[in-house]
Amino acid sequence: MQKRAVVSVVGKDQVGIIAKVTTVISDNNINILDISQTILEGFFTMIMLIEINDPSNLETLQEKFKPVEQELGLKINIQLEDVFQAMHRV
């Protein structure tokens, strides 16, 4: 079942965040549908919409982000998009 998930990345702005995060995604053969990024109060904030074949894989993907999170001091979350739709759209 095709699902969409939101990856959010928050941390101190520095060189190479997008490169390293998207490398993990492409290494796992996951398609990115949308990316937006900004600097908010000195913090790098990026939100990506990705395509997921099996929601139970989210946990493995979250694990694979761990090294990048530690290396760059980032907080990366993955959540199914449905929860945002439910909260913000009637």
């Binding site: 904030t45 139970s56 946990e59 959540q79 449905d82 439910a86």
Partner: protein
């Protein structure tokens, strides 16, 4: 329309910084088919049914929480009132049944199982009486079993004989767990107008009108509401209500989608969404602090009832818009020991038992997790229950009493319950007696409000 950047950020902020969580997913299970003339078989059937129906509850809830990025804190079980199985049982067997429930909860690794309950708001059947007799010992011998007793409803009036017994039972339960700060009483609720689909403990049970099994969800988030209000320091009260309503709406929607997914995966029907602002001792996760943010120097001062009424109503309205299946208690809980703001209110002399009673007229439940001086007599405890039941009966709302007379402690001391249950300053009770009222017994007739047909 795609979700905006700011909306995604808002959700993440609610979860990461403001303690938005699904407080509980509670599976209700009917045990009526477990009746048998051989009580050993009853226990076996009860254990087997609970542990098979709910065997995947915890793992499924954890998996869904991970996928949606919203934590599910507690997984719990509510059973149909245990008194239904005790018609031919002895007190000892009733205690054994409680121990069986405790074992099932341990096997499933759920923190509470609710429904060691009896509905005695009009009369007490044999099974009900056995359960009542067994309560103090059952609560002291088990760790995860919660009990609720209905002693009054708007349609039936108040069963004062049951109220008198409950005063004694709370007193005895306090004594039987006195080595542990009388903690047994924290697992015992006395209700007026109980709801059959409340997912929150200690009052959850699977009501008579419910199906075979059902999954209900309790969502909380005082922290989210507090932070939302902090962004509008100068709003008038109409706008304050609006902010709470919108926040409640979003929280409820998140809870419902997650609850429905859990129910679907467990292959049980989805029951109801209960959005109740239930505080925890975590920083800023306090109902009292919301009231203070609305404009009170300290919770308990004049204006507290007005602020609480506004908040409780706004929460309900937001929830009702968000989900067609809002049920349970939906509103605001005001437990004392679990809310740092309430504790501070009492310690600083702003909040007292009388004000808490008055607050229960407009909050979603009643007197909750209040530590009383240990010398409070059974009659006084019964009279506290009677007052609370009268408030519920006349106002057609649920009220409840979960008080802990801490044996050996006096007014002004503090008691530590630990964990989720928190800590509480001991409150004194009125020194004048209510003995005569309680000794009269009988049933307070149903009020005029009940004659609505």
């Amino acid at each position: 329309m795609p979700i905006a950047f700011t909306e995604i950020q808002e959700t993440i902020r609610m979860v990461e910084m403001e303690h938005l969580d699904i407080r509980t997913v509670t599976m209700g299970i009917s045990l009526r088919d477990c009746a048998d003339h051989d009580f050993e078989k009853v226990k076996q059937k009860v254990y087997d049914k609970i542990t098979s129906y709910a065997k995947d509850l915890k793992s499924t809830a954890n998996q869904v929480a991970k996928e949606y990025g919203v934590p599910i804190i507690n997984k719990r079980i509510a059973i149909s009132p245990a008194a239904e199985l005790l018609g031919n049982a002895t007190k000892e067997q009733a205690i054994e049944l409680a121990e069986t429930l405790d074992k099932a909860a341990q096997t499933l690794d759920v923190d509470f199982i609710g429904g060691f309950s009896a509905l005695v708001h009009k009369g007490i059947s044999k099974g009900d009486q056995i359960l009542l007799d067994a309560l103090p010992e059952a609560l002291s011998k088990t760790e995860r079993v919660c009990s609720s007793i209905s002693v009054a409803t708007t349609r039936t009036g108040i069963n004062m004989d049951a109220v008198r017994q409950m005063g004694q039972i709370i007193h005895d339960t306090a004594k039987s767990t006195q080595d542990n700060n009388s903690i047994g009483c924290a697992k015992l609720v006395v209700f007026c107008n109980p709801v059959e689909d409340n997912p929150f403990m200690a009052g959850a049970f699977h009501g008579a009108g419910e199906g075979e099994a059902v999954l209900s969800v309790g969502v909380s988030g005082p922290g989210v509401v507090l932070h939302a209000l902090q962004r509008y320091p100068d709003a008038d009260l109409g706008e304050v209500s609006d902010v709470i309503k919108k926040t409640a709406f979003k929280i409820t929607r998140a809870g419902e989608i997650i609850g429905r997914v859990v129910a679907e995966r467990l292959n049980v029907p989805f029951g109801i969404m209960d959005l109740s602002l239930a505080p925890t001792n975590a920083m800023n996760d306090s109902v009292a602090e919301i009231l203070e943010e609305i404009g009170l120097e300290r919770v308990g001062t004049h204006g507290t009832i007005a602020a609480l009424a506004l908040m409780n109503d706004a929460v309900k309205k937001g929830g009702a818009m968000a989900s067609s299946y809002v049920g349970g208690l939906s509103g605001a809980f005001i437990p004392v020991s679990e809310d740092n703001g309430m504790i501070r209110g009492i310690e600083e002399g702003a909040l007292n038992l009388s004000k808490l009673e008055a607050m229960t007229c407009v909050c979603s439940v009643g007197l909750d997790m209040i530590a009383l001086e240990g010398k409070a007599s059974p009659e006084t405890l019964a009279a506290i229950i009677a007052d609370e039941a009268a408030i519920g009966m006349i106002n057609k709302k649920t009220t409840a009493v979960r008080v802990i007379p801490v044996i050996g402690k006096e007014e002004g001391e503090t008691v530590e319950f630990g964990g989720l249950l928190g800590r509480a300053p001991i409150i004194g009770v009125n020194q004048f007696s209510s003995d005569k009222l309680i000794q009269r017994g009988g049933r307070i007739p149903a009020p005029l409000q009940s004659l609505i047909n």
